[in-house]
Each structure stands twice: as C-alpha cells, then as structure tokens.
C-alpha cells in the first residue's frame, strides 16, 4: 500500500474515532412589534450578536421585523442627538408632538443576512422548518431581543410581541421547540420585559412540573412581572446596560466596545472555556442594570423551596457557593449591607428617592402640557399673520405642507415668548428620566443582593434536602446551562 494511502487511512481513522461534538446553531429573533416600538437599541443588539457569531464561525439565522431585505420602509425608531435633528421640524414637534416626538426619527434597519420576518405565522413556519432540519448532535441557541407582554392575572400567559403586533406565548414557543430533535440541547436567552415566566419552557408543558424530555435551559433578563432594559431609543452602545450587553460580553470575552474581559473574572471553574452559566454569574456580579436576571436552574430552585425552608434565612451557606460570592461582590461594589433589615431600610430610602423623582417628572410634564397649550394659542394669532391654517397645525402636518410654509411655521414658533421655556422644561424631563433610570438601577442592586442571599441558602439546602428525582432534574438543568458555544 502506498504511503499516501496509509496517510489517508490514518486521517480517516482519527476522524471517525473522535467523539461527536455538538455544534451550536443560533437563531436571533429581534425587533419590535410595530415601528413605534422597534427601538434602535434592539437593532444594535442583534447586529452585535451577528458579529460575535460570525467571528466564531457559528451558523446563525436572523429574523427581524418585517424581514424584507429589499425595502426602504422604516422599521426602526431611534433618538436623534441634538446636533442631528432637523432644525425646522424640531420646534414644530416640540410644540405639537407628544413626549419625545421632537427627538425621534425613523429609518430602515441596516442588518445584513436577515432570513425572514418575526410576524408570527411566518416566523412559526420558518422555525418549524429550521428546527426539523437539525440533527440530534446539533444544539439550539435561541436569542430574543424585543418586547414582551404580560398577563397580570396569570403570567404563564406572558408572550413575545412580534412584528405586525402578533403574539407568541410560552405554550406556542414550547411547541415550536418540540420540532427540534428530542436529543438536541435547546438553550434560550430571552431579554424582553416579563421574561421570567418563560423559565416554564424547561417543562413538558408550561404548567407541568416534569422536565421536558428534550434537554432545555435558559437565561432570562427579568422576572415575570418586571420590565427589562434593552429597548432604548438611544443607540449609544457605551450607555447600554441590558442583559444582552453583559451576558454576551462574558461569553465572548470582550465588551461590545471591544475591551477584553479578564478570563479569571468569568471562568469560575478554570476550565478555559466560558459556559453560559458562567456568563450569567458574571452578569449577576457586574451588571449595573435595572434587570434582575435569572436562569432556569434558579427558577427551579425557587419553585422547589419546601414549606419547612421558607423564610429560614438565618442558616449559613458554604463559602464556595457561587451565589454567595456574587452577593458579596455586588454588596461590596455598591457599598450595600449584605443582608437583613439594613438592606430593607436602604431599599425604602431608594424607593422614596424614586417617588420624589417620579413626582418631579409628573410636575414637569404638566407644566410642559400647559406651555404647549399656551404656545398653540399664541400661534393661532401668529399663523393668521403668516397665512397658515389652524386646522393644519398638528404634529403630522409637516409632511403635507410645502417646505417654505413649514419654515414659516417653525419661525413663528421660535419667535414666541415661551418657546425657550418649553425647551428648557423638555430638556429637564430628559434629565429626570436619566436620574430615574439610575435610581432604578441602584434599587435593583439591593434586590439583587436580597435574591442572591436567598439563592445561596437554597442551593446549600437543596443538596441536603432535595429528593433524588429533584437532584436529577437539577443536574440535567445545570448540565445544559454549563454548556459552551462551540
């Protein structure tokens, strides 16, 4: 036999003897349910994730808003910085528009490789086909960046808000995942408001307590009743503090601004690989965000808590418990007490500060409303002088008027007495909104310390008191969560 043939046989033998590695395939589902609700940050998140997975050579399919690639119809709304706004339209929108209308602009998304729309019927069909084509050795990573809806009476009815204002609830998503092979690992990262109830995807049915046969696990940005960050009009990535930003930075080893993250801060077990679980723990420790994020194993632990351990918070947990260490890190970073009534008092103070800010915002909003009414009344006199018609003076009117008449209207506004005061008030509201967000983030750090304390003790108690069946379930969940991106 020739040397070349021996070499070829050797290579084939080697390849056949290697264990099959599970290849991760990624589905990115993003965008708002309507143009008005399809904020610029959502697009930036999807773009960044596309870049990460492309760099790693991971097959990714992206579904975004209407999914049309050859179209210029706007599907993104974003915040235009002061220097970029139309100087003629801005005064008109300040007087006649609602809220931040004067600072908003719309455009078409600039994502590449969009495979389709997130409009429910079409998305469902596409995902069914995609999942059905998977081999059992492939694993699924489903990432959602968009909005979530809540049913306050039963949060297991919470849903994803998809394009065309369609909805996909937990049961429907669970059924979709069933189209992937039963042996494929399915992981989900859901970053929308009220995402916590989607932890029920780990079960056969959302209302069941038997784990699905298919290995499933996930990471959720928030509880089932709280709003999440991640849908800002502002597209300044340096300001993003949502779950996607921290979680995928840890998984990738670099922030979205390209700054490397020291591996020892993420790689808890020193394996050299970063697991989804480690990325989540990193996020818990480091995120300065209003998100109180959680994993499916944490949700399972909280559901498991038996009656005889409820509020039994004075036991000590082992020091090598990841949640205890995370609690310590958060408490130290934000100068918080690590537990107890001191923490409760601090939360009351923070809530009080937030209430004061909310009151200030309401007062400012009321003053703005009065100013706008007064200005419109002044303008009715000014418009007569310019030959404009009062009936045409609405925030939508500019698109129907000739350019010179729009300019006259804008000049008339700027010439009024109270316009500068209106601008000052509207800018003040924007500053109060920033303070409110900071206050909310500060409050979340307290809630995080509280929650991590509870998870820490439950983890310790679980090892001691859980049945063999529950331990088996938890082992399955953790095995899934400790997976890595291939």
């Amino acid at each position: 036999m020739s040397p070349r043939l021996w070499h070829t046989l050797g290579v084939i033998t080697l390849l056949v003897s290697l264990p099959a590695l599970a290849e991760t395939r990624v589905w990115l589902i993003g965008g708002g349910n309507t143009l008005e609700n399809s904020q610029g940050q959502i697009e930036e998140n999807v773009r960044w994730l596309q870049d990460i997975f492309t760099e790693r050579g991971i097959t990714t399919r992206t579904y975004f808003t209407d999914g049309r690639t050859e179209d210029e119809t706007p599907d993104i709304i974003y915040f235009e910085p002061p220097g970029e706004r139309n100087p003629v339209l801005e005064p008109i929108l300040r007087v006649h528009g609602q809220g931040l209308a004067y600072a908003q602009a719309t455009r078409r998304n600039s994502l590449t490789q969009v495979s389709g729309t997130t409009e429910k019927p079409l998305l469902v069909e596409s995902l069914k086909q995609d999942f059905a084509q998977l081999s059992p050795e492939e694993s699924v990573l489903l990432v959602y960046n968009g909005h979530g809806g809540i049913d306050p009476n039963d949060t297991l009815n919470n849903d994803l808000m998809l394009w065309g204002d369609t909805r996909l609830d937990i049961s429907e998503l669970s059924s979709l995942l069933n189209h992937a092979p039963a042996r494929s690992e399915v992981r989900f990262v859901l970053t929308q408001c009220f995402s916590g109830s989607f932890s029920a995807l780990i079960y056969e049915q959302p209302r069941s307590d038997t784990l699905a046969e298919q290995p499933r696990c996930g990471f959720l940005a928030e509880s089932d009743r709280r709003e999440a960050e991640g849908c800002d009009l502002d597209t300044n990535q340096a300001e993003f503090r949502d779950y996607t930003t921290y979680f995928f930075a840890a998984l990738h080893g670099r922030t979205r601004l390209g700054e490397p993250i020291p591996k020892e801060e993420i790689d808890l077990d020193g394996s050299g690989d970063i697991s989804f679980y480690e990325a989540h723990i990193y996020t818990l420790k480091n995120a300065y965000s209003s998100d109180l994020s959680r994993s499916t194993s944490e949700a399972y632990l909280e559901d498991w808590e038996p009656w005889y351990l409820r509020w039994n918070s004075f036991g000590k947990s082992p020091s090598d418990n990841d949640y205890r260490q995370a609690r310590q890190a958060v408490a130290e970073r934000h100068d918080l007490p690590s537990a107890g009534r001191a923490l409760l008092s601090m939360k009351r103070e923070r809530l009080s500060e937030r209430s004061a800010l909310a009151r200030e915002r309401r007062e400012l909003t009321e003053r703005i409303r009065k100013h706008q009414s007064a200005l419109r009344a002044q303008l009715e006199q000014a418009i007569d002088a310019h030959g404009l018609s009062a009936e045409t003076l609405t925030a939508d009117a500019p698109t129907n008027m000739e350019a010179d008449r729009i300019e006259q209207w804008s000049e008339a506004i700027q010439a009024t007495q109270d316009y500068d005061e209106l601008v000052r008030l509207q800018d003040a509201v924007a500053r109060v909104d920033d303070k409110l967000l900071s206050a909310q983030r500060d409050q979340t750090q307290i809630e995080k310390v509280q929650r991590l304390s509870r998870l820490s003790r439950l983890t310790a108690y679980f090892d001691r008191y859980a049945t063999a069946e529950a331990q088996g379930d938890m082992a399955r969940l953790l095995s899934c969560e400790h997976g890595t991106l291939q």
Binding site: W307, N312, S313, F314, G315, L343, L344, K347
Partner: protein
C-alpha cells in the same frame, strides 16, 4: 357529656391545625431579627395576595406533619411529667440547632415546642372539663 367530648375533640383538632402558623411566627421573628428579613421584604415590596396564597399553601403542606406530631405528643402526655420536660428540652435543642451546625430548619423545633406547650394546656383543659 357528649357535647363536651365533641368540644374537646374540636379544640384538639384546632390546636393541631394551629401548630404551623404558631411555629411560623417564630420563624418569621428569627428571619427578621437575625436573618435576611425575606418575609418583611415580601410584605413591604411584594404582592400581599401572593404572600397569603403561599402561606396557605405551606399551611396545607405542613398539616399532615402537624396532625401526626400532635397525635404523638398527646400520646406522650399520657406518661409522666418527665416526658413533658424532655420534649420541651428537645424542642429547645432543635431550635438552637437552627442557628448552629447542622443548621436544621427552625420550623421543626418550633412545631415541637408549640405542640408541647399546647398539649400541656389541653391536658389542663381536659382535667377541668366535666366529661
């Protein structure tokens, strides 16, 4: 006579059913004074409706344990005063072991303590009642 027996049986059942909420009071005190104040946190910032549902659900789960414990304690009460003292010491020990290794759940010691105390009281009631 039968009426009094029925009343005493009702009182006995009520005491058995009351064990969990009474024991829970001790747990909540400990949580608030020495623990993470999880209950206070939930009262102050969580849903009261959900809290009440949770307590009711836990009460139901604890009921079989409460009933069995009550039956066992009532059985022990038929014996000497030393048994009662022994049970009281055992309950205090269990409570102590909630704060030190092996950090047992406080509710067990609290249940035993209340069962012992209520049983003593019930025994007094039975002695004075014209049965």
């Amino acid at each position: 006579m039968w009426t009094m027996r029925i009343l005493l049986a009702g009182a006995s059942l009520l005491m058995a059913v009351s064990l969990y909420p009474l024991a829970l009071v001790l747990v909540l005190l400990a949580d608030s004074l020495w623990g993470n104040a999880e209950f206070l946190h939930q009262v102050a910032f969580g849903s009261l409706r959900e809290l009440l549902v949770q307590i009711a659900s836990d009460w139901w789960a604890a009921l079989p344990y409460g009933l069995v414990l009550w039956a066992v304690i009532r059985l022990f009460n038929r014996f000497s005063q030393k048994t009662v003292i022994g049970l009281s010491i055992a309950s205090l020990l269990l409570i102590l072991l909630a704060f030190f290794p092996p950090y047992l759940p406080l509710i067990f010691g609290a249940l035993l303590l209340w069962a012992t105390l209520l049983s003593l009281g019930f025994s007094q009631l039975v002695r004075k009642a014209p049965v």
